[in-house]
């Protein structure tokens, strides 16, 4: 429950900052979105390494995957 509470606080703060208000975005208004750090996966190689570790060490997987094909580690 604590984790949900923390997430809720973060989302409320974002909402207060208008970050969760839908609006039309023209192509020329997407400069911020084009930043490298705004990608869903901003560092694919590091993400692949992390997901490979989680896949090897946990029963749950998927959603963001592992890089470089299959693995006999799990």
């Amino acid at each position: 429950m604590k984790r949900w509470g923390l997430l809720g606080v973060v989302l409320l703060l974002l909402n207060g900052c208008s970050h969760l208000k839908p609006s039309k975005v023209k192509p020329w208004e997407r400069g911020t979105m084009a930043r490298e750090d705004m990608a869903l996966v901003s560092n694919p190689v590091q993400n692949g390494l992390d997901e490979h570790i989680y896949f090897s060490k946990e029963a749950a997987s998927g959603g963001s995957g592992v890089g470089g094909g299959g693995c006999g580690c799990n």
Partner: protein, 440 residues
């Protein structure tokens, strides 16, 4: 899994496509090396790994590219064999084909002969169909001394709503062959009956269902000898540019795994009324598994920084459910440096055939595994990345993280001697990644 990752990369490219602000470089080369080492709360060193990665991307346009990624990893060290700590000395023959080993009282048994290397090659490309649609395809191959995998994936992406919304539909299929050192052993039979490597018969290739005879096994003659595991993945995703600062993404994934899913190196203890192990049997897992995931991501800009939040719910028909939360903050430090603190929390419930051990008085069940990765468990990861943009086309990164896995050290099912020992030693892993990204 590969499919899902490619999907996210594909959705991410939507932004650059529509911005018209950033012109992608022709070539991008990412090279990294990961160092990973584990230790448990009983001060036993476990697995260590070194994993170099080389990823080369040729960009023709933001949604028209080709990527080749090569991964090599080498693992050594000791891995839990499934047995638990006892007040008595425990002796094992190694199912991985090595010589036997002895474990002192009070320690969780680890098979010290764990050693393997893996080479993986991935090829993926994205090609536009029109201004609003494109496809992403990929081929992946990986090879270990006892495991080979070949997979392919295809996703179709279509933009709507003046390119503020993207719908993605994807499919993937993988064909894996397992050929363990020491051969396949009879599941749920005593390890004292296991054939040694020198006695093993040449392995027999089974059908894709993988549920043929479980005995035999041994020498590998080709990459796809052994028992087969197939995985069929499907995914449906939608991403939406909510406003100038925020991107949302929702994915549903379903995965059907059929064939050999038993870990050939794991055993299950048989214990007496006092909780002392009197024998060990080879584990056995079901031959099919249906996995599903729901995942939500939000990325939002906060000035020159950005916040990444992620939540994933996982469930399968083995009885496992997992909730995973991930938070990362990209903190820009001037023009040349950045820091990315990261925290991940994941809790999973145990598989319905997970057991600490089997009582010698009970009937042998259809399936049983004592692999702690199938137990009720919490994994926490904390750390972060530090980046240094040396020039407009070269960035160095250092990623430092600690991961801790903990479970129930004193389960209610423990009896007798089991209550005197830690049934789930906490494992702490240290991960260090050095990376460099170069644009040409």
């Amino acid at each position: 899994m590969q499919l899902n990752r490619r999907l996210i990369l594909a959705v991410g490219s939507l932004l650059a496509t529509t911005s018209g602000v950033v012109q992608a470089a022709d070539w991008a080369v990412d090279s990294s090396v990961l160092f990973y080492a584990e230790k448990d709360s009983q001060h036993q060193d476990r697995v260590s790994l070194a994993e170099p990665v080389l990823s080369i991307t040729k960009n023709n346009a933001p949604d028209d590219y080709l990527n080749v990624t090569l991964v090599y990893d080498t693992l050594t060290g000791a891995s839990p064999n499934g047995a638990y700590a006892s007040s008595r000395t425990q002796t094992f023959t190694s199912p991985s084909g090595g010589s036997g080993y002895t474990v002192a009282p009070g320690y969780t048994p680890l098979d010290p002969s764990f050693k393997d290397s893996r080479t993986a090659l991935s090829l993926s490309w994205m090609t536009p169909f029109s201004r609003e649609s494109r496809y992403l395809a990929g081929l992946n191959f990986s090879s270990e001394s006892d495991y080979t995998s070949l997979s392919g994936n295809y996703s179709f992406l279509n933009d709507f709503n003046n390119k503020q919304t993207t719908l993605t539909m994807g499919l993937a299929y993988s064909y894996d062959a397992i050929n363990p050192h020491g051969g396949f052993q009879t599941p749920l039979s005593s390890i004292s009956n296991n054939q040694s490597q020198s006695q093993a018969q040449p392995v027999t290739t089974t059908s894709a269902s993988g549920n043929g005879a479980e005995g035999g096994g041994g020498t590998s003659f080709s990459l796809f000898d052994g028992k087969i595991k197939t995985t069929f993945d499907a995914i449906l995703g939608v991403s939406h540019v909510l406003n100038r600062y925020t991107l949302l993404s929702f994915n549903y994934g379903i995965s059907e795994v059929d064939g050999y899913q038993t870990d050939p190196y794991k055993i299950v203890p048989i214990y007496d009324a006092g909780g002392f192990p009197v024998d060990y049997v080879n584990e056995k897992r079901p031959g099919s598994r249906l996995k599903q995931t729901l995942k939500a991501d939000i990325v939002t800009a906060i000035g020159k920084d950005s916040l990444h939040l992620s939540y994933r719910y996982f469930w399968d028909d083995w009885g496992i459910q997992a909730n995973t939360y991930d938070i990362k903050y990209h903190l820009r430090l001037g023009e040349s440096f950045y820091a990315e603190p990261h925290y991940r929390y994941s809790h999973q419930t145990e598989a319905n055939f997970y057991v600490l051990g089997l009582s010698s008085a009970q009937a042998v069940p259809s399936y049983a595994s004592s692999d702690l990765r199938l137990a009720n468990m919490v994994t926490m990861t904390a750390g972060g990345m530090f980046g240094w943009k040396v020039s407009s086309d070269t960035t160095f990164t250092l990623n430092l993280e600690k991961m801790q896995q903990s479970g129930n050290s004193s389960p209610s099912s423990a009896v007798g001697d089991q209550r005197k020992h830690d049934m789930f030693p906490t494992v702490t892993a240290t991960m260090v990644t050095l990376g460099v990204r170069t644009l040409f």
